[in-house]
């Protein structure tokens, strides 16, 4: 084990800014990107459903 206390872990031997600055930005990107992909899927599905309803109304 490298760390004796949580404080020591977060301090990263004085490199806290650099280590957490890297990991947090990386994690943020990897959370944001799938959310955007999911939103894109939701948006196109909503458009498709609307078009289907419009077509059905046209037919009636």
């Amino acid at each position: 084990m490298n760390w004796n206390s949580p404080a020591e872990f977060f301090a990263m031997g004085g490199y806290a800014l650099y280590v957490w600055g890297s990991f947090i930005v990386c994690a943020a990107i990897m959370v944001m990107e799938p959310m955007l992909a999911k939103k894109r899927q939701r948006d196109i599905l909503r458009t498709l459903r609307r078009e289907r309803i419009a077509e059905e109304l046209d037919r009636q």
Binding site: M1, N2, W3, F9, M12, G13, G14, Y15, L17, Y18, V19, G21, S22, F23, V25, C26, I29, M30, E33, P34, A37, K38, R40, Q41, D43, I44, L45, T47, L48, R49, E51, R52
Partner: protein
């Protein structure tokens, strides 16, 4: 023509790939989570403190996998684009389009974490060094590919123009990879090489490889999610899309 040959090409149509991708996505997310937890555990709790760089070296556990993925995704993207150009298959262009944003983000993570490593270790966020500059060009190539495709309304023409850009840009990938050998650069040499045994502790190496697997699975999962949306966007007026249960509901 044997059966296997036909089956393989069956999945090359958007209509059959769409549900297949949907089934694969949860599996790749599961693998991402498993490799991520194990990889991060090794990165922070198992791998020892570096003798020279202290705890600051732990950035490499995301820097190296992101850099590998940024180059590898480019090669895969260019291969799909080239395939689309040669065989005129519909799915190829969609695959290339789905991979580009993920590749761009990987290149960005590589540059960002590199800067955060460079500041404490070299004393500067950025230098115009061969490795860093060629990686920056890779990032711009991704952005150029995305912008070019977005600028052309006709999807087929966008695919063709993008494919040419992607294929010309492939020349940059070996330049990035070998830049540390060809030029005198500040950047250290390859961390892992097939030719010689790696120059780092076993646990550090394992942490890096497992994190690389995590990034690999993540890239596949997110690219599959995006390709599904792109398939629907491009095939909007086809019968099979209108018949999908998620559209009919």
């Amino acid at each position: 023509m044997n059966n296997r040959f036909i089956n393989w090409f069956r999945f090359a149509s958007p209509q059959s790939f769409y549900p297949l991708a949907g089934k694969m996505i949860p599996w790749f997310w599961g693998l991402t989570a498993i490799f991520g937890v194990v990889g991060l555990w090794i990165s922070f709790f198992v791998a020892p403190t570096d003798a020279v760089q202290g705890e600051g070296y732990r950035i490499i556990f995301i820097h190296v996998p992101a850099s590998w993925m940024s180059m590898f995704i480019y090669l895969v993207m260019a291969a799909w684009a080239g395939l689309g150009l040669a065989l005129n298959t519909r799915l190829s262009g969609m695959m290339a389009q789905a991979l580009a944003p993920t590749g761009a983000l990987m290149a960005f993570i590589s540059l960002w974490t590199g800067a955060f490593w460079g500041k404490p270790m070299w004393g500067t966020w950025w230098v115009w060094d061969a490795r860093l500059t060629s990686e920056l060009i890779l990032f711009f190539l991704y952005i150029g590919f995305i912008a070019l495709q977005a600028a052309i309304d006709d999807a087929r023409r966008a695919d063709k123009a993008g494919a040419i850009l992607a294929l010309v840009g492939v020349v940059n990938v070996p330049i990035i990879y070998f830049s540390v050998k060809w030029w005198n650069t500040l950047h250290q040499g390859a961390s892992v090489s097939v030719m010689k045994s790696p120059s780092m502790a076993q646990t550090m190496l394992w942490g890096m490889l497992i994190m690389a697997l995590c990034f690999w699975m993540y890239s596949i999962a997110v690219a599959l999610m995006r390709v599904r949306a792109i398939i629907l966007e491009r095939e909007t007026h086809t019968e099979w899309v209108k018949e999908l249960p998620e559209v009919k509901q």
